[in-house]
Assembly symmetry: C2
Homo-oligomer: 246 residues x 2
């Protein structure tokens, strides 16, 4: 299926899309203890931005976010959730969009829909970045993973959006852990701890981490494999399926 690339299809009056409302997605990619985010670079402008889009007249808001995620990564059925609406008046700054439109040969009229004030619904996703196929939109010339600790300058308030998304991810980690679907069927406590440490960006104490995670009531310890050195092998755990919990 050919992806839909919305930005270049926008008419000057925004026909076909909900007015004044956008979506920005913070797509976190995790793999082997690295945490990255997906960014677009706009053609010949030096501007980096979060993948985003608009909502079609007959489209559900959450479906529009799924569409954006699919268009940029080729992925469906991944964890994707609203986390905040960015609606300050001060975020209205038409200059970067004017630059992008100009570099893409789009005629700039003073009341062009893309240059109006937008309220943006922020979504975040967490995926295994080795499974995604980053794909630029028609206005951008790259779509690539960037290390969260070495981000380029982002346009408008996208830096704030990333910050808030990361805080939300960190705050909800216990509650969303299973839904993120980032661990194999069985895993050691040390492996789980490294996932936490990567997302939280800090080292954790082994004993208190283990105590806390066990208290969540979502982990089941699996019998050790019978090997000659069984006493040295770490315990394996699995997530208890929801219907078996409590």
């Amino acid at each position: 299926m050919k992806e839909q690339r919305t930005l270049s299809l926008v008419e000057p009056d925004g026909k076909g899309f909900l007015p004044g409302l956008a979506i920005d997605t913070v797509i976190f990619g995790f793999h082997e203890y690295q945490l990255k985010i997906l960014l677009l670079e706009y053609k010949n402008t030096g501007l980096f931005a979060l993948p985003g889009g608009f909502i079609k007249d007959e489209e559900n808001l959450n479906d529009a976010a799924k569409r954006v995620l699919f268009e940029r990564t080729g992925l469906t059925d991944v964890y994707l959730e609203q986390f905040y609406v960015f609606g300050d008046q001060s975020r209205h700054d038409p200059a970067p969009m004017q630059a992008i439109m100009q570099k893409n040969g789009i005629k700039i009229t003073s009341n062009h829909w893309l240059l109006q004030r937008f309220v943006s619904v922020g979504y975040y996703a967490l995926i295994d970045f080795t499974k995604a196929f980053p794909t630029p939109d028609l206005m951008s010339d790259s779509c690539a993973w960037h290390d969260l600790n070495h981000l380029p300058n982002l346009m408008q308030d996208h830096q704030d959006i990333v910050k808030k998304a990361l805080e939300t991810l960190q705050m909800n980690l216990d509650r969303k852990l299973i839904g993120f679907n980032l661990m194999p069927e069985t895993f050691t406590m040390a492996e789980l701890q490294r996932l936490y440490e990567t997302i939280l960006g800090e080292k954790l104490r082994r004993s208190s981490f283990q105590r806390k995670l066990l208290s969540l009531g979502i982990l089941e310890r699996i019998a050790k494999k019978k090997t000659g050195a069984a006493h040295k092998a770490p315990y394996l755990y699995r997530f208890i399926p929801e219907k078996e919990r409590k």
Copy 2:
């Protein structure tokens, strides 16, 4: 200061407001172990609805929500937070709004701004309901507290909005407890437990509640008052101010 009552000021083309975007506020009221929500009843229609409003062209989204809360309760500086954006296409149902407009003598044109599809940002607040001054807007003839367990039929998807707000309130109770500002300076564990039980809608076991709350690291036990029957008096607690924690 005279409150602003926006709905009746809306022109057919919605001039002065952001297009297609609304706010709905679920204002929870707590007092002496009762949990209520604030509802409007629209004149001669039998329709009940959450207090809501629109965002002015030059207004921040969060400020618009504060304004709505102030207009309906007279309160400022209370806990108020976004919790979800309701953006399904199916929620577009102009019939109830047509009925409200008709009963209020507003001319209905087929493309009237109020009859278009709206995406609504849901906010929730939690206040002491004895401190509020419920005030109807110009379109409604009552603004009153309703027991959460005995709500009238709500218009459009407002029942879903209440449900999602309650789930959010319950899920975030530990984390937001201090911010809600519903306890006196000092309180007993039993008093705190009754707040939890009221909001969660279920009885809790005393020992496990106490253990869990103490593990949050936000409570400090105060020395018992020296009285003749000191050994029978329950311990008093206070919230540890953030700067003194850990």
